[in-house]
């Protein structure tokens, strides 16, 4: 549909038709329809997710109109899930929107299988006990879970799932794969066919830097016992050598060659990041392995055999100063090598599939090709269960955060966000949350607030000491800040948290880009938010 293509044009430029198709077939469940949940879904509905199901058992009150844009005055007294659902539907009629008028906490307790129908569950403003139960349910059924919370001027976003594999991680900056340190025969042959000392000034200034570097590196190795420049001195000398080849100061190709000269000294082999993946225990594939891990196994075989320690060639060539025909020829040489490498990986893939008793043709050629093109950038994300994190967080990290000035506020909020949930479990309200008449009195009288502050402090100190941490690191000002906001869900904070959460949902569903790790703690005071890896 032309219209849909135009409507989504600005995002198709980011995640392409495939990413969009993944979004359009995703089914998303939202728990609680406050501003945090409504804003998260708003961003996803605009982007065209397949279907949304909103779960909320509450009715709209006047106070909800002060922080939720997906409600209006006529919503008062009606089901919040229903009202938010209908306003969200207005944003995009190609999204299937449904609602369930039930409390999420009750649904988690009474009907856990309800969640199995979704691709992903977004749990907002849910208390600790329900979050823990929901996490177990989602893990069991391989449903992706995102927990999002807004609380006063803080909040958090946390992804929970067993494993998420990314082929198209699309990093912003990544060193191109030119193999100048290790040119293959066809590339060498092409370089040999070009005379760097040509007397034609136009050709001289349009000889691509790839050719210049391959030839000059060869010349260098011949004069240095087969070694490429490696020390700082040698690298400098190599640059001087390149400079001496210039006929005029405006030869951009030589400038590019000097700038890229470090690429000839690149170490052979794969990065530590990729090493970790190919050495993962899941590379021992069997009939239950995912396609991704079958490919990693095939990749490993390639690296250890035909690749001689190197991954398959990516095959793309960055633009560089060059005659058109030189550039096109080089492009074809790179593409041919990439295709040859892909064919080998495909061969390994088919064999592995046969070996583990699966149909050898089950993984498509285009999937393998895409995998090979991104082989150096594949990423595996794993997340601890929330229960594991709560009962046995990475202590060394936690200690570090508590004493690190840059992290102390974030980790303070982290502990306090857990503490307010325990407070709520004890007192059936959040600290600093008083009924209507008293809310105003507090400007004059602080005694009830002071009580809450000391109660919250006791709980927070208890959490820290249970974990064996020094509780004196908890800033007093943060504790009173948590009580001041009295569980308020501010629209701007909710919109921020919703923006973060929806970005992560998109990354998870499109399987493109790398989702966040750990727990994101929002700091709305000075915006020095942090990711805590616990």
């Amino acid at each position: 549909m032309v219209e849909a293509k135009n409507k989504y044009d600005r995002q198709l430029r980011i995640w392409g038709e495939q990413g969009q198709a993944a979004l359009e077939s995703a089914s998303i469940c939202l728990l609680n329809c406050g501003p945090t949940g409504s804003e998260t879904l708003k961003n996803l509905v605009l982007g065209g997710v397949g279907s949304i199901t909103l779960v909320d058992g509450s009715r709209v009150e006047e106070g909800d109109l002060g922080n939720n844009f997906m409600l209006d005055a006529e919503s008062i007294g009606l089901s919040k899930a229903k009202c938010v659902c209908s306003f969200l539907q207005e944003l995009n009629d190609s999204v299937k929107a449904k609602f369930v008028e039930e409390s999420p906490d009750a649904l988690i307790d009474t009907n856990p299988s309800f969640f199995c129908q979704f691709t992903l569950v977004i749990a907002t403003q849910l208390l600790e006990t329900s979050v823990l139960k929901l996490d177990k349910i989602c893990r069991q059924s391989n449903i992706m879970l995102i927990v999002a919370r807004s609380y006063g001027l803080t909040g958090l976003v946390r992804i929970s799932l067993k494993e998420h594999d990314v082929i198209e991680s699309k990093p912003d900056h990544f060193l191109d794969d030119l193999r100048l340190h290790n040119p293959w025969p066809e590339l060498k042959k092409f370089a040999d066919s070009i005379d760097l000392n040509t007397t034609d000034p136009v050709v001289h200034k349009h000889t691509p830097y790839v050719v210049i570097l391959v030839k000059m590196a060869e010349e260098w190795t011949q004069r240095h016992g087969g070694c490429l420049p490696s020390t700082r001195e040698e690298k400098k000398e190599f640059k001087e050598l390149l400079k001496s080849q210039m006929l005029a100061f405006d030869e951009d190709n030589y400038k590019e060659a000097i700038e890229a000269s470090f690429k000839v000294s690149a170490l052979r082999g794969i990065s530590a990041h990729l090493r970790q993946i190919v050495d993962d225990s899941l590379v021992q594939v069997d009939s239950t392995s995912s396609d991704f891990w079958v490919l990693v196994a095939a990749l490993k075989e390639f690296i250890e055999n035909e690749g001689q320690g190197e991954p398959p060639l990516e095959g793309s060539l960055p633009d560089m100063t060059s005659l058109t025909e030189y550039y096109i020829s080089l492009q074809k040489i790179y593409q041919a090598k990439a295709e040859a490498d892909t064919a080998v990986v495909e061969y390994h893939t088919r064999n592995i599939l046969k070996r583990i008793g699966r149909d050898p043709g089950v993984i498509s050629k285009s999937y393998i090709k895409n995998f090979c093109r991104n082989a150096r950038k594949i990423t595996v994300c794993r997340y601890r269960t929330i229960e594991d994190e709560f009962t046995s967080p990475a202590l060394s990290e936690l200690q570090k955060y508590l004493t690190d000035e840059d992290y102390s506020v974030a980790v303070g909020f982290y502990i306090l966000l857990r503490a307010v949930d325990r407070f709520a479990a004890n007192y059936n309200r959040f600290p600093g949350m008083f009924d209507g008449s008293k809310a105003y009195l507090l400007v004059k009288s602080h005694s009830e607030m002071d009580d809450d502050i000391s109660r919250l402090k006791t709980i927070a100190v208890g959490i820290l000491s249970d974990l064996g941490c020094n509780s004196s690191a908890l800033p007093e000002d943060l504790i009173s800040e948590m009580c001041r906001c009295g569980g308020a869900e501010l629209h701007a904070v909710a919109a921020f948290i919703g923006g973060v959460a929806s970005q992560e949902v998109i990354k998870l569903i499109t399987k493109q880009f790398v989702p966040m790790s750990g727990t994101f703690i929002f700091n709305g005071i000075d915006h020095k938010s942090q990711l805590l890896l616990l």
Binding site: K7, D9, I14, L46, E62, V443, A488, D526
Partner: protein
Amino acid sequence: MADTATNGRWRDLDKLLLRPGNLVGPNFEPSPELRDDLQTYARVLVVGAGGLGCELLKDLALSGFRNLEVIDMDRIEVSNLNRQFLFRLQDVGKPKAEVAAQRVMERVSGVNIVPHFCRIEDKDLEFYSDFNIIALGLDSIEARSYINAVACSFLEYDSDDNPMEETMKPMVDGGTEGFKGHARVILPGVTPCFECTIWLFPPQVKFPLCTLAETPRTAAHCIEYAHLIKWGEVHVGKSFDEDDPEHMQWVYSEAVKRAELFGILGVTYSFTQGVVKNIIPAIASTNALISAACALEALKIATGCSKTMSNYLTYNGLEGLHTKVTEFVRDKDCLVCGPGVLIELDTSTTLQKFIDLLGEHPKVRMPKASVAHRGENLYMQAPPILEEMTRSNLQVSLYNLMGKLARDVVHVTGAAAVNGKTASSLRKLRIVFRGATNDGVADMDTAGGA
């Protein structure tokens, strides 16, 4: 929860505005009056009603602001709908500012939003001076630069060259590209203005013409050849209009021909549009979070209910999640937020001579300036009717036109050369008249608040 008994519509916001705290701004005075004052007196201008502007209007309306205005010259397009959530398919073609204002007012009762469907340059300084805070939701460097200069033009310095707080026009500014974005707070005279840190926005690198003409290698080269070279050769005298689908189609098919000629792959219609219009990819979620950060800072500036961000937040969700706050420092010699370019004149210098001088002045470079002094237009280059009305001033001495003040500030507007490009600019100039003494007419320092 026990607290479900309603505390009124501003149940949540009130906790922030009515209760004392320790991590708050220096002038924070929590009370119900603070919320009332915010609603009654705080006036915010939202510049741009696009992806950021729509979010900003919603966020500000739900953060207690009631007096909002929005300015945008664009009409709604289909490609806006994936993020500009206030617009529907049936709104395509209508002015963004008007529809956005209408939608937010329908949803949030009590809020008043005045739309301005025009260019930012169409409004005079007086219009901008009316606001307490200006929120920028723009995607162009030129427009940011212009608004920044306008906001900074109100800033006055005392005799010790310290910025006077009551003349300060705070700005919050956001920008996004894909999964990345920034939000910043500009307190003119205190934190760096847009121009102080202009290096954060390097100009876009253009392809050399000889590459396009002689050695094309990529699809983009073929497209730019068709767009920048071939169009002019074939359509003599007819300028290219990127919004005309027929023009775009022509460029596309020419680019395809050229790509075939050279064996280059990858020219598509969509890519052609991207290159020619320099389309920046944009998604709802990034716009949402960046605008939210800006709106939250606006609320803090207006009420002091929390400490503020100092002063530049970057967000990157591309590889994991990275956020960082950088405290940039002011450029002490900034021509825009500093005390102004000092120009010494003789008391006999005519306005005409002064205008001629501005074209050559190395720090101004504005050949056809319009000149304003304390809100009064001394000379206007356009429109013709105002030009005619002010033309007689040209032969009068500037000293006389400025009320015989020994020194004072004037504002000049017009096209100026900035970084090799010509752009609409506004400059603040500090004029000092040689040999003149203030004979008690009005000193600029004491008259500052007037």
